[in-house]
């Protein structure tokens, strides 16, 4: 009993020693990044970029995010733990910008600069926001779609959701560009698959059944795009121009196999890099622009292996 109990007592302490204590004995400035997610490849790529910048500018970073994008309160807990470590600056990708405002205000009162990344915060607290111009990126997808369809035909959009900023911007960027620049292309429907592979597959099959003369489909994020590819493959529809968004092994594979014409990629590594770079600038009291556009690219089978493109794609 005694030994067992002491084992129980000793274990956490031992575990901590074994894992070391990076929080100790470091005089590098510390920047805490609290992201929207952690395990998705996109966020891992953001982390990679942040780590590159941390090395380059001689700062120490941590990178954390909740298991999924619904866990608003867990993200707030992460922000609270990050603040306890007295960071020199904070990078924050808000799941819900309102919910985080009390803590962000606490940070700003303590003189800790906040850099928003990926999506903005509805407040004047962040020193800047490092993000993709999703409206412009989706407009580029519309242009590519129109080009491949010869300027006329019917297309559909499979979007990831109707409430998030990225979901709204990518949908509207695509729709607006089609309406303005390509009047002979009709967007017959916009459907939502929650960014889930399976749901997006079902949505795509329903669209194809309802519109046998469809010319193309735009999937607005990785999960949607893969769902579109699956749906087209399962129904056996031919000559559908599929345009995707982001990257990932499956999407790269689909482009290589010719199932997908091409895709827009954001620059997640750039988002991470620019966030840390901006944090360092803020620590040094430098002026920052309101928005840091981290850029986006069109890629297809021909350009996928270009060094500039390959650098921002992830598996």
């Amino acid at each position: 009993m005694i030994t067992r109990r002491s084992t129980l007592l000793a274990l956490p302490a031992l575990a901590m020693m074994a894992m070391g204590s990076p929080a100790l004995a470091q005089d590098k400035p510390y920047i805490a990044l609290v992201s929207k997610g952690f395990q998705h490849q996109f966020w891992q790529a953001v982390k990679t970029g942040a780590e590159q910048a941390a090395e380059e500018f001689g700062v120490r970073i941590t990178f954390e995010g909740p298991d999924n994008e619904t866990m608003v309160d867990r993200q707030i807990d992460m922000l609270a733990a990050a603040l306890a470590n007295k960071p020199a600056a904070i990078g924050f990708a808000a799941l819900d910008s309102q919910a985080a405002i009390p803590l962000l205000r606490q940070a700003s009162d303590a003189g800790v600069p906040v850099i928003a990344f990926d999506s903005g915060v509805d407040s004047d607290i962040p020193a800047t926001t490092a993000t993709t111009d999703n409206l412009a990126a989706a407009a580029l997808a519309a242009d590519k779609m129109a080009e491949m369809l010869g300027g006329k035909g019917k297309v559909a959009v499979v979007a990831h959701d109707q409430t998030s900023r990225t979901g709204i911007d990518r949908r509207d960027g695509f729709l607006n560009r089609m309406a303005e620049a390509h009047p002979d292309i009709e967007v017959v429907t916009v459907q939502y698959g929650q960014g889930d592979h399976l749901q997006s597959t079902e949505v795509t099959k329903a669209i194809l059944t309802a519109n046998p003369d469809l010319g193309g489909i735009f999937g607005t994020n990785e999960g949607s795009a893969i769902g579109v590819v699956n749906g087209v493959r399962e129904t056996g529809a031919e000559n559908i121009v599929v345009i995707g968004y982001d990257s990932g092994t499956a999407q790269k594979q689909a482009i290589n196999d010719g199932l997908m014409a091409g895709a827009i990629t954001q620059n997640p590594i750039g988002i991470g890099y620019e966030t840390v770079k901006a944090a360092v600038a803020a620590i040094n009291g430098e002026e920052l622009p309101n928005i840091i556009d981290t850029g986006f690219y069109w890629y297809d089978k021909a350009t996928m292996d270009d060094p500039q493109i390959a650098a921002v794609l992830y598996d």
Binding site: M1, L8, A23, T70, M71, A81, N85, Q98, Q162
Partner: protein, 336 residues
Amino acid sequence: MNDAIAQPAKPKGFLRLIDTGAHQKLLAVASLIALLIGFSIGSPNFMQTSNMIAILQAASVNGVLAVAATLVIITGGIDLSVGTLMTFTAVIAGVTLTSIGVPLPLGIIAAIGAGALSGLISGTLVAKAKIPPFIATLGMMLILKGLSLVISGTRPIYFSDVVGFDQISRGSIIGDLIPALPIPNGVLILFIVAVVVAYILNKTVLGRYCFALGSNEEAVRLSGVNTDRWKMAIYALAGAICGIAGILIASRLNSAQPALGLGYELEAIAAVVIGGTSLSGGRGTINGTIIGALIMAVLTNGLRVMSIAQEWQTVVTGAIIILAVYADQLRRQKAK
């Protein structure tokens, strides 16, 4: 082994004052203290008032859910719907307070009432329709998740215009009295809920039947007790407590987030079993559950403050849950 008999005598006597089942509490408390000491050594930033408050605040919602889960688990059941029921009640509060515009107390009552009603439905499915609790509450979990999205129109409902709503969880009555201790009201509410439910469990008929149902339901039935009715009452009480959790999380986020909630039931159940409540029913305490919830919160926060890589945080959390329950298991075998 002789030591083993001699040594625990003192703390046992001391802890008996707080509760029976002293050993188990000793173990859980010891783990909690060990974690606090370990993290304090691990990071100089861990042991500061603001971080301790952050931990308590993180524990408050999970703690209340775990109290609800404890009641059902003691009856030998399980409630998988606590997380999405919490969300559902938050959405009910959102709709009544913002769209309909009822006064604040009515919105709170509506949320808690919706929780009780949903719990009553789960209880009826279990007691009357004889659907196993795992299945009945799994179904309810999905129904409530869906209904939250339907009622809210899949959009978060913000309470910005409801004066005082964010103070329910974020405000601090204690802090107003003692400025050095700005403990948020959410934490205070957790402890009030815990004390009330512990009283119900230990001092009332409902509490006694709760344990009796978990130990030997057939014997209770044969002695002429309407077991169905008591079981439904317990599920309804658990549902009402989830309603309190719904108010707490909505107030903390100043919004009802309709998509949130899945996965929260497992964390609540983890807190319950770390606290020494048996999943096979008939045995458990609210004190244990609260300590279990605190252990979970300390662990999560401490690993973060130590800047341990997130993938390892998850591994360590899982290992500690198993370890805590295993230690409890050993103690029980010893007792036999």
